[in-house]
């Protein structure tokens, strides 16, 4: 019996174990994809209430083929139990030369018809958004600063 137990022990040690790591050794890519959290930077009531509650808005869909949000991409957000559309106006990810990189992932909320929910944007906006296709004119008109 003891021999069988010993054999079993040996066999179990030889089996591949699934070890889950909760640390990383390399720098994070900080890509914006589904379930990544973002900061709402306009002065809409929803955005401010999300900050008050201490719950950041979550991306639940990115409207492009890659599924990874870049500057100027449209996203669907889960914010305070609601579904809202928004545009990414700043990324933490490494950018190309002459494009600004921000310390936070910034999003501006828009209604279904494309008009922004807030009336002012609190952070600087990359000027390259002016050259992107999309309904940015209304967002750009409420911006305060460009970099």
């Amino acid at each position: 019996m003891a021999q069988i137990l010993k054999l079993l022990q040996v066999a179990s040690s030889a089996l591949p174990r699934v070890v889950q790591c909760n640390f990383r050794t390399s720098a994070c890519l900080s890509e914006l994809q589904k379930l990544s959290t973002v900061q709402v930077v306009d002065n809409s009531i929803l955005g401010r209430s999300a900050v008050k509650r201490g719950k950041k808005a979550k991306i639940i869909h990115v409207y492009n083929s890659a599924g990874i949000g870049k500057i100027g991409d449209k996203v669907l957000l889960a914010i305070c139990g609601e579904k809202k559309h928004g545009y990414i106006v700043g990324c933490k990810q490494k950018q190309k030369p002459n494009t600004p990189r921000f310390d936070n992932n910034n999003v501006v909320l828009v209604e279904e018809n494309g008009t922004p929910t807030g009336t002012r944007i609190r952070v600087p906006i990359p000027s390259c958004l002016r050259g992107k296709d999309g309904e940015f004119t209304k967002i750009l008109s409420i911006a305060t600063k460009f970099v």
Partner: protein, 310 residues
């Protein structure tokens, strides 16, 4: 494997023989000059003549002060090639350097270091007035040759903003040095995990009076890190410009951080003695002297200009 397949592979190899001879790590750098373009330079008869001329009059650079070349290359580290031999390509370096001289005749490149405050004016077709000026602290300076890059960091409206510029890009109109100084570290990426006050400089900051051969001071400021989580594991890096970290949550975490900071892998004291590591990560002096000699030959045009502007 059957013989027909081998034959097929051989023909494939023969077809791409010209490219095979030049395969190195360079191939994977998409932004560099393509190998096809370089091969034109390699096979060009003009180029052969140039190399022969260079061989004929390859006199050693004679300077009164032997420190001059090293000081020049410290100020302009982009002239030195990558120390990794896998990335070296003499022809590519020469072609890139020629382009750099051409750019330097049109724009004034001031002396600066990581830790200096710079303002870069860029041609931006989307900005008002078609130009945008960004002032910030230089937190990184790297990449060799024509693709030399800097990163400027500043805080605008309580939001940290970083801009990466390619110094030799034709879009850049003006580079101003606002404050000429160094910091204790070679890279200041830890400012991303510090309170914003450490990386705030007003956009209309007045520039310091900078003159030629000005002594460069070292700013010995020690910044304080935010509580964890950080963007990198700073406890494993031997940072000079950072105060000892105090924001631990529990006694257990404090002990862990202390233990990690005292590990030999953090201080890496053997690296001072590692001759091979030093050799691998630096350009040999003969090579750097050769490059300096080549640069000085062409530098007459833009060096006079530099002296006038400083």
């Amino acid at each position: 494997m059957n013989t027909s397949l081998i034959k097929h592979l051989c023909t494939l190899l023969l077809r791409t023989n010209g490219e095979l001879s030049t395969i190195s790590k360079r191939c994977y750098q998409s932004h560099r000059i393509r190998n096809q373009t370089l091969d034109k330079h390699r096979t060009s008869p003009l180029n052969k003549q140039k190399t022969e001329d260079a061989k004929n009059d390859s006199k050693p650079v004679t300077n009164k002060d032997p420190e001059v070349p090293t000081r020049f290359l410290q100020k302009n580290p982009e002239f030195l090639p990558n120390p990794d031999w896998g990335y070296r390509d003499q022809i590519a370096e020469m072609v890139e350097r020629n382009d750099m001289y051409r750019r330097r005749r049109n724009i004034f490149m001031p002396e600066f270091y990581v830790g200096s405050i710079l303002a870069v004016t860029l041609a931006d077709k989307f900005a008002l007035g078609k130009t945008s000026r960004f002032l910030g602290l230089c937190i990184y300076r790297g990449d060799q040759g024509l693709h030399h890059k800097i990163i400027l960091r500043n805080v605008i409206d309580n939001e940290g903003v970083e801009m990466m510029y390619e110094l030799y890009s034709p879009l850049i109109q003006k580079i101003e040095v606002i404050k000429l100084e160094r910091r204790l570290d070679d890279e200041l990426f830890y400012l991303r995990d510090c309170p914003l006050e450490y990386s705030y400089f007003p956009q209309d900051m007045e520039s310091q009076n900078i003159f030629k051969d000005m002594p460069v001071t070292t700013n010995t400021i020690k910044v304080k890190l935010n509580p964890r989580p950080w963007s990198q594991r700073w406890e494993r890096v031997d940072l000079q410009g950072v105060e000892p970290f105090t924001g631990w949550k529990s006694e257990k975490q404090r002990l862990k951080l202390k233990r990690l900071a005292n590990q030999p892998q953090v201080k890496k004291e053997w690296e001072k003695m590692d001759l091979m590591k030093h050799y691998r990560e630096s350009i040999p002096p003969e090579e750097s002297m050769r490059i300096y000699g080549e640069v000085v030959k062409d530098a007459k045009d833009w060096k006079n200009r530099e002296e006038r502007e400083t």
